[in-house]
Amino acid sequence: MGQFTQFAINGLMSGAIYALIAVGIVSVYKATKVVNFAHGYLIMFGAYFYFTFAVIIPGQEWAPEWLASWKPSWMLEMRKGLGMFSPLGAVLDWMANIPRILLGLVGAVSCNAILGRVVERTLMRPLMGQSVFAMIMVTVGLISILSGSASLIWTADAAFVPHIAPNTPIRFELFGTMIFLFGADIVNMLIALLIFGGIVTMVKFTKAGIAIRATAEDQSTAYSMGISVPKVFSNAWVLASTTGAVAGAILATRNGISPSLGLFGFSVLAIVLMGGLDSYVGCFIAAMSVGVLEAMTQWKMGGEWAAIVPYVAVLVVIIFRPHGLMGQKEVERI
């Protein structure tokens, strides 16, 4: 049972990241009916922006020293004699990075918001009124533009970024088994869940959220009711880009920075289809299920199966519920 709990928690932590990625795809779809195939590459840009503001800028000669490493005397005193992986040592090492982590997050979210708005205004807005298929094809083209631009700006060099939260090892015994968790992964999961919950609440209870839901129901009716549909489109893209920036930063801390980060979006597309393209809650359930299923399959059957089993489950769900777990039945698919 202890083992089961260990792998279930591992799966939930992965699932939370999938959910954070999925929220961007669902947001754009709900507002615009466009499946954004380039979402993974928006995430990749978020990761590179985080790298720029948390690593490149603090490393410049002109940047203040405290930005790269904030080490007041009391911290140095406390750090003395602590091992690299001691819980307190890990927290203190992380605290020294707080200024650049904050700069990185603010920079990544801001720049990705601008990127999302630019994409919407220059590529999507001119196609309003045209077929949705054309807009979807534009997102496919956007993949090449974003991946090529990232290589031009940052090159393909692999790099590493500071953890958003202290990566303190956490150990406790459960059902006679020692459970081990990474502190940063738990915080990443909480961040992902908070953002996800915040967006669902916003869509349900705020005016902007109601505008998104109304646009999702029927764009013409929403227009006639005084809702600025172009603004909803724009906000949806900004929402997807900013959540993507956070997801990108988290993925970068887990896997390092490289152009392959863009590929994550594709695996999450299957999860979104499983949950329902227009359902936040459905996607959340699907993301968590796939995360746990992956971890359990890896545990019991090994990695070869872990790459297949969760996606077989996705297919099975889609066969029996073509609109996904909680998607609207009238959804038109490509």
């Binding site: 790099a159 590493f160 152009p259 590929l263 990695g303």
Partner: protein, 402 residues
């Protein structure tokens, strides 16, 4: 028999054409072309972009030395995105455009080598090196024109397991990426472990990028392994696995293979995440670039790098990945030059024959001593260990041959 003037001229012209046409057709090229596909984009773009400058350095170096029997060489490099089909298309394109001037090709993955192998027949065959150390390719009977510029992944496993045995290890884990590259030496590794009396307590496969680190580390902890071989990774996963295991408090000794032994990656991880790679060991076919006191060929590279790549990180350091490409090109050039100097055409058969005959080659420092091509590979390497303090990989074994 008598000829009138017209008959004499016509016969003479026909004879000249008959004798001269083959000579015209076989006229020496003004330059020889060596093609290459590199993963300049895609999942292994980091490696591809570090290797690419080696080709411009090689072109300058080899041409300064007289090219191939006095004829200059030119490299044609293209991006493959690490997609084997793209590499095949690149090869076919350069074959069509350069024709007989194309004398060798450098491919960029095991998958591409296997995909292209059946195409290497008759006039379409060329000598072909690559980034791959796939064991299947080290067989002249099935892959006569393809070669490895070092030991196969199976050989690398042999070297690592011998070293683990010498260190008194008994329980090992093998963690590998779910790719052709990752799976390559598995079966052989199992047999070798049994032969050496090593118990494989965990065989764990992971995604090549973005693996679920907590899950893999948990399984490693449960396995009770003393040593863990990581294989099938380039820039990612292996550092995160080691970092996770260290946080877990696991005293496992980690071992890597060629593609997970790059100093640039180890240094970047150390700078960002701390010195947790201390003691990380792995097999490396070549001397590292900074260890060039006894490596005259490296010294030539260093002098050229300083001039050609001034102001870039490549000015002072050549990655192990670029060294592998350079070693492959050195071998190809050696075979091409030997073929040309013997007065033979640079056909794939002639060049491959010279390549397989390379014996006691003084590589100028790549390897510990003179090496020979056996089964189209060079089965030698040694174990290095990383130190975060010095930021260097230093030898922890002698040169071992398989």
């Amino acid at each position: 028999m008598t000829f009138n003037r017209r008959e004499f001229l016509a016969t003479g012209a026909a004879a000249t054409a008959a004798i001269g046409t083959p000579m015209i057709l076989k006229a020496q090229a003004k330059e020889y072309v060596l093609g290459a596909s590199l993963p300049l984009t895609g999942p292994f773009a980091t490696a591809g972009q570090l290797v690419a400058p080696a080709f411009s350095l090689a072109q300058k170096l080899f041409n300064d030395e007289g090219g191939i029997a006095g004829i200059p060489i030119r490299f044609v490099t293209e991006d493959s995105g690490y997609v084997p089909q793209n590499t095949l298309a690149n090869y076919q394109r350069v074959l069509a455009t350069e024709g007989n001037s194309l004398v060798a090709y450098f491919s960029d993955s095991t998958g591409a080598m296997k995909l292209i192998a059946p195409e290497l027949k008759g006039d379409n065959a060329r000598l072909m090196g690559s980034t791959s150390f796939a064991s299947e390719l080290a067989d002249p009977a099935t892959h006569p024109y393809q070669y490895l510029s070092g030991p196969t992944y199976q050989d690398q496993f042999d070297i690592l397991m011998q070293n683990i045995k010498l260190a008194g290890g008994s329980k090992i884990a093998i963690i590998y990426s779910n790719t052709e590259f990752g799976r390559d030496p598995l079966e052989h590794g199992r047999a070798k472990a049994a032969e050496l009396g090593l118990e494989i307590v965990l065989e764990e496969t992971t995604k090549p990028q973005g693996a679920d680190i907590p899950t893999h580390v948990t399984k490693l902890a449960q396995s009770g392994a003393e040593h863990c071989i990581l294989h099938g990774y380039v820039t990612g996963v292996w550092p995160q696995l080691i970092g996770g295991a260290r946080q877990f408090g696991l005293p496992v000794q980690f071992h890597g293979t060629f593609w997970g032994m790059e100093k640039l990656i180890a240094d970047r991880i150390t700078a960002e995440a701390g010195p947790f790679l201390a003691g990380y060991q792995g097999v490396m076919p070549y001397r590292y670039f900074y260890d060039r006191d006894d490596a005259p060929r490296y010294q030539q590279y260093a002098a050229l790098s300083k001039a050609m790549f001034a102001g870039t990180p490549l000015e002072n350091y050549m990655s192990t990945w670029a060294l592998q490409a350079m070693c492959g090109l050195e071998l190809a050039m050696k075979a091409l030059r030997a073929t040309a100097e013997a007065g033979n055409e640079l056909t794939a058969d002639n060049v491959a024959e010279n390549l397989s005959g390379i014996s006691d080659w003084d590589s100028g420092g790549f390897f510990g001593g003179p090496v020979s091509m056996t089964n189209n590979k060079i089965g030698t390497g040694r174990v290095y260990e990383y130190s975060p303090e010095t930021k260097l990989f230093t030898p922890s074994s002698d040169w071992l041959s398989t």
